[in-house]
C-alpha cells in the first residue's frame, strides 16, 4: 500500500484519509460484525480431514485491496491474451496438435498426462469454447509488475467470496463507496448466466435451460455452488437428479423429467461420467459424455481443459501465448524448473532453501514445500520425495510479493496477497473488474490458501 518513501500509493489516498479519521476500537468492532454476517449467512467452506470442524469461516479482512484503473487495464489485457491462448491451445491439442508438431511442446507431456482426455480428440465444443470460466492467479511484485501463478481453467472457485465480500463492505461502510468510485462486480451472476446460455447446443430451441452440478452439501465449495445457482436463478442439481433419456440429459422434477441444455459442472472430469471415466463415481451421470459428443448438451468448462492449467504445462505458457497470439506475453510467468529434467532437478535440490516446490497436480496448497520458511528436516524429507518421483514436481523462486495492509489488534500491518480475477468466455472475453484477494494472515507467510489459514479481502478496481 505504501510507496518506497512511505507515502500511500495513489489509489489508497482517499481510503487512507478516511481510515485516519476512524476510531480503531470501532473498526475492530466492525470486523467482528463482518464475521457475524458471514456466520449467519452460512458462508462457509469445509476443510477435508477435520471431522469435528466440518464448516469453517474464511477470515475476512475489512481493509479493501485497491487497484487503480491504469494497473487494471494492463492486467486485463494480459489476462485476455492468456485466456484466448488457453482456448486456442486446447482446440489445437484436441485437433491438429500443431504446437507439438512445431516442436514447441514435447508430445509425451500431453499424451502421458492424466488431464489429457483422448475422448475429446476431434470434438469441437459448442461455440468452440473450452474454458467458459477462468480464474487466473496473479501476484504483484512491484510497480506494474505482475506474475501469473496459475491459470485455473478447470472449475475455479471463490467467486462467491468476491461477491459476498463486496456486499458486506457495502453494508458496513456505505460512505466509502461514495468517496471512491469502485467498478461494479455485482453483475457477475447475470453475466455468467448470459455467457452460459449463449453457448447452448445449436439444436436447443427457445430459452436454454441452465443448471449447476454440485457434488452435494459435503463438498468444500457447496456454499458457492448454491450461491451461484440461486443468484443465476437456475437449478442446483446433483448427479442423482440427472439421467440420460432419449439422447438428452434430463433432470428429475416433481412433474417428470425435463431436459438440460447447459450444465455448469463443479465436479471434476474424473467423476463426470462413470461409463467413460471413474466407474465408481456416484457424483456423475452415466452416459453424459455420449450426449455431449453428439452435441446435445454444453458442459462448462469442457472436459479435458485440465491439460491447459496443469502445473507441468504452466512452464510452457510463454511459448503457448506466443505460438497462438503471435505476440510476447503481456503478463510474466514465474520462472519454473521442471524437476522431470535432470539439470533442473539437480538445481532444485541444491537450492531448496530459496524455492517453492509444488506437486504438478496438487491444489489448495497441499503437498507443497516453501523452502525459506521450512525447517531443515522438512527440507530433507521433501528432498527424498523429490528424488523418488521427480516428474511429480516443479519448483519456482519465492517472489517478493507485494503486501497490503490488514487490520490487526494494534492497527494495521502488512501481509502478502495474491489476486484471482474471474474471466467469462463466450464469443467475447469478459473480465470482471476486481476478483478475489487472498491474504496470508500469518506475518511473513506466503501461503494464501484458505485451507491453510488464509483470509480474503474485498478488491476494488477504481474508475479513472
Amino acid at each position: 500500500m505504501l510507496t518506497a518513501d512511505n507515502h500511500p500509493r495513489p489509489p489508497y489516498k482517499t481510503y487512507q484519509e478516511w481510515y485516519d479519521a476512524q476510531d480503531p476500537a470501532h473498526l475492530i468492532q466492525k470486523s467482528r460484525d463482518a464475521e457475524n454476517i458471514f456466520r449467519k449467512t452460512g458462508i462457509t467452506f469445509a476443510v477435508y480431514g477435520h471431522a469435528d470442524s466440518s464448516e469453517k469461516l474464511i477470515p475476512f479482512d475489512i481493509i479493501p485491496r485497491i487497484i487503480s484503473a491504469r494497473e487494471w487495464r494492463k492486467l486485463a489485457q494480459g489476462i485476455e491474451q492468456r485466456v484466448l491462448a488457453l482456448n486456442a491451445f486446447l482446440d489445437d491439442i484436441y485437433h491438429k496438435q500443431e504446437i507439438i508438431r512445431a516442436g514447441r511442446i514435447p508430445r509425451a507431456l500431453i499424451e502421458k498426462n492424466d488431464a489429457f482426455l483422448p475422448e475429446m480428440i476431434g470434438f469441437k465444443p459448442p461455440g468452440g469454447v473450452y474454458t467458459h470460466i477462468v480464474g487466473t492467479d496473479i501476484v504483484r511484485t512491484g510497480e506494474d509488475q505482475f506474475y501469473v501463478l496459475e491459470d485455473n481453467a478447470r472449475t475455479p472457485s471463490g467467486v462467491s467470496y468476491m461477491l459476498e465480500n463486496r456486499e458486506t463492505m457495502m453494508q458496513m461502510f456505505p460512505e466509502l463507496f461514495t468517496m471512491n468510485k469502485v467498478q461494479r462486480v455485482e453483475d457477475y451472476p447475470y453475466l455468467l448466466r448470459q455467457s452460459l446460455a449463449s453457448l447452448a447446443p445449436p439444436g436447443c430451441k427457445g430459452r436454454p435451460r441452465v443448471a449447476v452440478l454440485t457434488p452435494g452439501i459435503y463438498n468444500s465449495a457447496y456454499y458457492e455452488h448454491s450461491f451461484l445457482a440461486d443468484t443465476m436463478g437456475v437449478e442446483l442439481v446433483e448427479g442423482s437428479d440427472l439421467r440420460v433419456i432419449d439422447g438428452k440429459v434430463k433432470m428429475r422434477t416433481t412433474r417428470g423429467y425435463e431436459a438440460i441444455d447447459v450444465l455448469y459442472r463443479r465436479v471434476d472430469d474424473d467423476f463426470l461420467d462413470p461409463l467413460t471415466f471413474r466407474p465408481d463415481s456416484a457424483l456423475g451421470i452415466p452416459g453424459i459424455m455420449d450426449v455431449y459428443r453428439s452435441g446435445n448438451i454444453t458442459i462448462a468448462n469442457a472436459p479435458g481443459t485440465g491439460i491447459s492449467d496443469d502445473k507441468a504445462i504452466y512452464s510452457y505458457m510463454p511459448e503457448i501465448v506466443e505460438f497462438y497470439t503471435g505476440r510476447k506475453p503481456i503478463l510474466e510467468n514465474v520462472p519454473t524448473w521442471r524437476c522431470s529434467e535432470a539439470d533442473s532437478l539437480k538445481y532444485v535440490l541444491e537450492h531448496l532453501e530459496e524455492l517453492v516446490v509444488k506437486e504438478v497436480h496438487g491444489s489448495g496448497g497441499y503437498g507443497m514445500l516453501v523452502g525459506p520458511t521450512a525447517s531443515k528436516k522438512e527440507r530433507a524429507d521433501f528432498a527424498e520425495k523429490l528424488k523418488a518421483k521427480p516428474s511429480n514436481y516443479i519448483a519456482q523462486p519465492t517472489l517478493s510479493l507485494s503486501t497490503v495492509p490488514i487490520l490487526v489488534n494494534k492497527g494495521i500491518a502488512p501481509r502478502h496477497v495474491d489476486l484471482r480475477p474471474y474471466v467469462l468466455v463466450s464469443d467475447k472475453v469478459k473480465i470482471i473488474p476486481g476478483g478475489l484477494t487472498r491474504v496470508a494472515l500469518k506475518q511473513g507467510s506466503l501461503v494464501v490458501n484458505s485451507s491453510q489459514g488464509g483470509g480474503t479481502k474485498d478488491t476494488w478496481v477504481l474508475e479513472d
Binding site: 456466520r39 449467519k40 449467512t41 452460512g42 452435494g216 452439501i217 457447496y222 448454491s226 445457482a229 440461486d230 437449478e235 442446483l236 442439481v237 446433483e238 442423482s240 437428479d241 433432470m251 428429475r252 422434477t253 416433481t254 412433474r255 417428470g256
Partner: protein
C-alpha cells in the same frame, strides 16, 4: 422443481416440526414433575414412548430417570429424534434446498442451528431447562415466521406445508396412543385427581390445556379430549386440522401441475374418515385400533407423496 428439492423441503419441515414437538413433550413432562410428589420416573417412561424412542432409549440406558430421559430427548445425537438431531437434519435439508428458500427462511434456520448447537452442546442444568425449551420453541417459531412471511405461495410452499402436517399428525396420534388407556371410559373415574393429571398432561404436550377450556367445559372429559385432538378442525394440532391442510396443499399441487396421483386419493380418504367420524364411534370401535390404523395410513400417504412427486427416483 427437482424431486430432490421437494423431498428436502418436505423433510426440512418435518424435522423442524418434530424438534418443536419433542420440546413440548419435555415441557409437559417437566410440568408433571413439578406438580407431583414422589418419583416421576414412570411418567418419563411415557414421555419417551410418546416421542417414539422408548425402545432405542432402552438400548443405551438400563433405567429411566428424569435426567437421562431429558438428556436423551433434547441433545443425544445417537437419538435421531432428539431436538439436536432434528435441528441438525432439518438444517442439512435446508442447505440442500437452499436455492429454494428465501434468504430470511434460510438465515432463521441457520441461526436456529447455531444457537441450539451451542445451547445443547453440553448438558442442560435442571434450573436452565425452562429457558432452554423456550429457546427451542422460539427459534422454531422464527423459522415459521420467516417462512410464512417471505415464501412464494407455490409448489415449494405446498411441499413444506405437507411435511409439517404429516409430521404433526404423526406426533399427535402417537401422544394419544401412548395414553389411550387413560381416555377409555371403562377404566377412568371421572374426577379422580390421577386422571385429571394425566389428561392435563396430554393437553399440555400439544399446548392445548388452555384452549380446551374455551371449546369444551372447564372439566376434563376423556371423550372431549379425544374429540379435541382427533376431530376438531379448529385445533391446529388435531388430526382433522392436519388433514384439512394436507388435502388443500395437495389440491394446489394438482391444479398447478395438472397431475393427480395416488397420494390425492389416500389423503382424501383419510380426510373424509375424520370428517364423517364421531368420537363415540371411534371410542366404541377402539381408540387404540383407530390410532394404529391412522398412523399406518399417514405413513402410507408419506410414501405415496414421495413416489408421486419423484422424491427419490
Amino acid at each position: 422443481m427437482l424431486g430432490r428439492t421437494a423431498n428436502g423441503l418436505y423433510w426440512m419441515f418435518r424435522y423442524i416440526e418434530r424438534a418443536e414437538n419433542i420440546a413440548r413433550l419435555v415441557d409437559a413432562g417437566l410440568r408433571v414433575s413439578l406438580t407431583r410428589t414422589g418419583s416421576t420416573d414412570g411418567d418419563w417412561d411415557g414421555v419417551l414412548q410418546s416421542a417414539g424412542v422408548r425402545d432405542a432409549f432402552g438400548e443405551v440406558h438400563d433405567t429411566v430417570t428424569a435426567a437421562n430421559a431429558i438428556d436423551y430427548l433434547l441433545r443425544d445425537t445417537a437419538n435421531p429424534s432428539s431436538v439436536l438431531s432434528c435441528i441438525e437434519a432439518g438444517r442439512n435439508n435446508a442447505r440442500m434446498v437452499r436455492t429454494a428458500l428465501t434468504r430470511e427462511t434460510w438465515e432463521a434456520t441457520n441461526e436456529c442451528w447455531i444457537e441450539l448447537k451451542q445451547l445443547l452442546g453440553r448438558k442442560v442444568k435442571a434450573a436452565d431447562l425452562p429457558e432452554a425449551i423456550d429457546t427451542i420453541k422460539r427459534r422454531a417459531g422464527l423459522i415459521r415466521g420467516a417462512f410464512h412471511g417471505s415464501m412464494l405461495r407455490n409448489d415449494l410452499y405446498n411441499f413444506s406445508r405437507i411435511g409439517t402436517f404429516i409430521e404433526r399428525a404423526d406426533n399427535t396420534s402417537r401422544i394419544l396412543d401412548v395414553k389411550y388407556y387413560v381416555l377409555l371410559p371403562a377404566v377412568s373415574q371421572v374426577g379422580s385427581s390421577l386422571d385429571n393429571f394425566q389428561w392435563e398432561s396430554i393437553l399440555r404436550s400439544v399446548s392445548a390445556h388452555r384452549s380446551y377450556g374455551w371449546v369444551y367445559d372447564a372439566e376434563y372429559r376423556p371423550s372431549n379430549i379425544a374429540d379435541f385432538l382427533i376431530l376438531n378442525v379448529r385445533m391446529p394440532r388435531s388430526l382433522a386440522y392436519c388433514y384439512e391442510k394436507i388435502v388443500s396443499n395437495l389440491h394446489y399441487l394438482e391444479e398447478d401441475y395438472g397431475q393427480r396421483h395416488r397420494a390425492h386419493d389416500t389423503a382424501a380418504a383419510i380426510k373424509s374418515m375424520l370428517k364423517r367420524g364421531s368420537i363415540s364411534d371411534i371410542m366404541d370401535q377402539g381408540l387404540h385400533e383407530f390410532l394404529e390404523d391412522f398412523i399406518s395410513r399417514n405413513n402410507q400417504l408419506s410414501a405415496d407423496i414421495s413416489e408421486g412427486y419423484r422424491f427419490y427416483q
